[in-house]
Symmetry: C2
Subunit: 289 residues, 2 copies
Amino acid sequence: MEFSVRPEPENPHLTREMRGLDQNGEELQIRVVEERPLTIFLNGQEIVTVMTIRDHPEYLALGYLLNQRMLLLDDIVTAVEYDEDIETIVVRTKRKTDYEKKLRKKTLTSGCAQGTVFGDMMEHIDSVQLPSDAVLKTSWLYALSRKINTQPSLYLTAGAIHGCVLCEADCPLIYMEDVGRHNAIDKIAGYMLLNGVVAEGKMFYTTGRLTSEMVLKTVQMGIPVLISRSGFTAWGVELARQTGLTLVGRAKGKRFIVLAGEERIQFDADASEVAEAARRQRRGGSSAA
Amino acid sequence: MEFSVRPEPENPHLTREMRGLDQNGEELQIRVVEERPLTIFLNGQEIVTVMTIRDHPEYLALGYLLNQRMLLLDDIVTAVEYDEDIETIVVRTKRKTDYEKKLRKKTLTSGCAQGTVFGDMMEHIDSVQLPSDAVLKTSWLYALSRKINTQPSLYLTAGAIHGCVLCEADCPLIYMEDVGRHNAIDKIAGYMLLNGVVAEGKMFYTTGRLTSEMVLKTVQMGIPVLISRSGFTAWGVELARQTGLTLVGRAKGKRFIVLAGEERIQFDADASEVAEAARRQRRGGSSAA
């Protein structure tokens, strides 16, 4: 159950050994994360080209379209055709789709723009009802941080990558990484769709900043708790407060800050006990990620 | 000359005091960075909505259009009209423009997508010739890091923000910050256009990752050196090597790694002397930023 999907730092397709110089002018070799284009089609229509590590193109394509509300939950997906050679993936649905008009209007967002998603999500968001009985125990939060940050990952191996983890209580379930942090959350959305994972009882842990779009995506997916190592934007906090999302930021070692939905937090852990374990955590981190 | 443009952590429009709880359940107040939409028009056409701190809307709009190659260097800009109330800015040119077709095809990139820029930049990039006589002394690199990271900034005050700095030798000239890291580089491009600053002899320092798009933008602007605290992607390195850009990553304290254009580096500093100063630097940082 724990880490049903985990990062693959040993996968030779995801990193590359590169040669360079260090500060003393001495030769060194380091592992560098791959960044590849993937063009997503929905039926006959080219939707977008994303830059990705391309470890899970199917999940990414489905999750992207779902989070853009171009693919609907009751759509019947008739095929998902990935062609590595021409770097494309085609999602086919029973329903005829046409997003020509939608594609013309783009909103680029703070972290990593996701095109058309924004306006639509703002309209849709009022209809979402997050469960009021969801709980976040601080002991879970500390356990999740520890497990996620010590799990072998592309981040620890090569850096320059974002992670997003679907969690339940103190258990990290699906840990996706990608060069675009929104790809990581989209891949989780695609995984949930294909594997019938429900949002109920789930939480998100992300390495990225808590911007407006990150908050909207989480809310749209029906997930009531969003935790990050990184910091907040004011609009992200405002939207979390409006939609009833619990928003925890700057979660590093024993420290964290809750700026929305604090009524879900149960302070059951002794923060001082966490300090020692936290010192051993390898994952550094600035609040601008 | 040093910091002709600097961050404005004291500007009340750029951060907001927000109330929340800390890990002990105690109330606290923190400063959180603003994130606001700005819709950019070119003549009659709506181009994009970006999320920004909106400190320099004119520079951002001009730099965005320039870096997208929708505004050309020989275009005559007849007006730049910013309307705060409706969160829009209109750039007017003597030349008639129509990017309807271009706007339909989007490429979302790793860090922060910038829509249409990618394909066009790839085509344009072969014609760019970076100066081969440019030099990066390691003493400059250390001095720049120290000056930039100790300069009061929104990053130090509120976090969750990216910075980009135009530098010359050991002197940081233009330091822009933004919630979208591409906004920071676009604002510098806009500033350079309006103030007649040439690329010759300049370098970029960024807090963001060295992805393909970051490399392409730097090359397109004619700047031969790009330095970052953060890590690399393999494609970013590849493009830097193809275009002859000097690419320095993971520049923290005395350490750094050069993966492209190492022939421009002059190792004139004693790295061990830098270690002590570096320990006093406040700016932490992960390689996924």
